[in-house]
């Protein structure tokens, strides 16, 4: 087995090659993991951008490296090659804490009450407890969690827990929110309700969002733009802009036809991967 190229990516970024408005720019991202003495190529030359206040969905088959990409953007693990810039500065694993990240697991701390879970990010940033709680209380109210501030997570339903995690993520005050299948573990009904809350991130809070999902309909209902990744190793297979007015109805003609188109792309991708 040939050793992988061991170069650092940042050098490869051409200054000014991207639109100024981009919050996140990824160029030629490569990531591989050691696996059984060999290498597992997970991301191969992925390039994408997320513009300011844009809601970008990442769609792709299971195992294609979506979570890996999120982890790299969050600064949790390093890239093997490629250029990553957040607000124009390179992303690295040393200066973390620049994006707000939410995963499929809500990761609420069981020993903290709802409100103290919500202020975790602010607490790490050194915001004093009282003002942090005041902000959190207001935000929890807006996400339908009023009256549960002092409850422990063990008492909450899955949807409520996920909303607390969302509030915690929002309160981090970062330009970019990375959401990795935040509703993956929820039932269909709760999921629909959560999508409504998520849309508000954009409409009300003006946040920039990179959103990973398995669910084509969810992507079409929420996103301004969708990147479809190929099966592993992940590459950008298609980029689809969704210029539909909101609120979008799952049964609307345009939504249905866009969904069909995306499903075709995914279907072709899976067939190719199987071949």
């Amino acid at each position: 087995m040939r050793a992988p190229p061991r170069f650092r990516g940042r050098r490869f970024l051409l200054r000014g090659a991207l639109p100024m408005a981009a919050v996140l720019e990824i160029r030629g991202l490569v990531k591989r993991f050691r696996r059984d003495g060999g290498w597992l190529d997970v991301l191969e030359d992925v390039s994408l951008t997320v513009g300011r206040r844009e809601f970008v969905a990442l769609l792709g088959p299971s195992g294609c490296g979506k979570s890996t990409l999120c982890n790299i953007v969050a600064g949790l693990i390093p890239a093997d090659a490629g250029a990553l810039r957040l607000e124009g500065t390179p992303i690295d694993t040393v200066a973390r804490g620049r994006v707000a990240y939410m995963q499929q697991k809500d990761l609420l701390l069981p020993w903290r009450t709802v409100i103290d879970n919500a202020i975790l990010g602010m607490e790490i940033q050194g915001v004093a407890r009282a003002p942090a709680r005041a902000r959190a209380r207001e935000m929890l109210r807006r996400f339908g969690l009023e009256g549960f501030e002092r409850a422990y997570p063990a008492l909450l339903s899955g949807g409520m827990r996920q909303r607390v995690a969302l509030v915690r993520t929002l309160l981090c005050d970062r330009h970019l929110l990375v959401l990795d299948e935040p509703f993956g573990a929820l039932d269909a009904m709760t999921r629909r309700a959560m999508q409504g809350y998520l849309l508000r991130l954009r409409e009300e809070f003006g946040r920039t969002v990179l959103f990973v999902t398995h669910d084509v309909e969810e992507a079409v209902l929420l996103a301004d733009r969708i990147y479809v990744l190929s099966a592993r190793p992940g590459r950008v297979r298609a980029e689809v802009a969704i210029d539909l007015p909101r609120p979008r109805q799952p049964t609307g003609d345009a939504v249905v036809s866009t969904k069909a188109r995306l499903l075709d792309v995914l279907e072709a991708e899976l067939a190719e991967a199987r071949a």
Binding site: L76, G97, K105, I124, R150, Y152, M160, R163
Partner: protein
Amino acid sequence: MSTLPPRPLAAPHRAAPASGGAAPADAGWLGGLRRGAAQAAPPAALLAALVLLWEWGVRALDVPFYILPAPSRIAGLLVSDQATLLAQAAVTLEEVLLGFAIAFVVGIVLALLIFSSRTVERAIYPLVIASQTIPVFAIAPLLVVWFGYGLLSKIAMAALIVFFPIVVNTVDGLRAADPDAVNLLRILGATPLQILLKIRVPAALPFVFSGTRIAVATSVIGAVIGEWVGATRGLGFLMIHANAQLHIDLVFAAIVYLSAMALVLFGAVSAIEWLALPWRRAGDR
């Protein structure tokens, strides 16, 4: 504030009443007490039955008191010799508490060192575990030689016994934190100290408490062994002394005191745990 989407977006799950948050009436301390009493009833009934059987057996078979005293006789002694028993118990309790406190502090510090340094772990942890193969009885006489007949050798004895469950449970607890939760804090930009204080320590507390509950009860054993081997005071000393004079009822009275002491200490730790970890009760109802 801008307009919100209509409230129906709020999830369709069974929302509990929104008043005051977590604690329903039954989860308060009164409810806890009631549940505790309900739990204690069956073993208490069984114990009472065994004591009655014992009383009856001793009377029916006419067993002499210097072989096996009847419970009623022991009870009588508990009243008549109360002053002596209490004085000796105070000595033993002091040894237990001091030994426990020292081992607790040293154990926690050592566990933190083992957790945070690979080198320390490799060097010390195997020795800590191997030390458990040394029978406590075997070193008790040595401790008396080294630390004398006084308080010190008993404190050392109790501490040695307490030490192990504290270290092992704390190390396990520090390792028990959800790695994803640790990563979450890393992503938020937390320092290693913040990760320790906000994730590792809270996650370790339930483990520390279960280690402590075991430790505090066994520390009584440690102190008594120390007293058996060489002492001039304490319940263990009283037992040896009474045994030699065939005052078997006094031996039993001392045992009653020792059990009560261990039980109270165990209960105290459980109560502190109940108060300190309210989130542990949030789920169970």
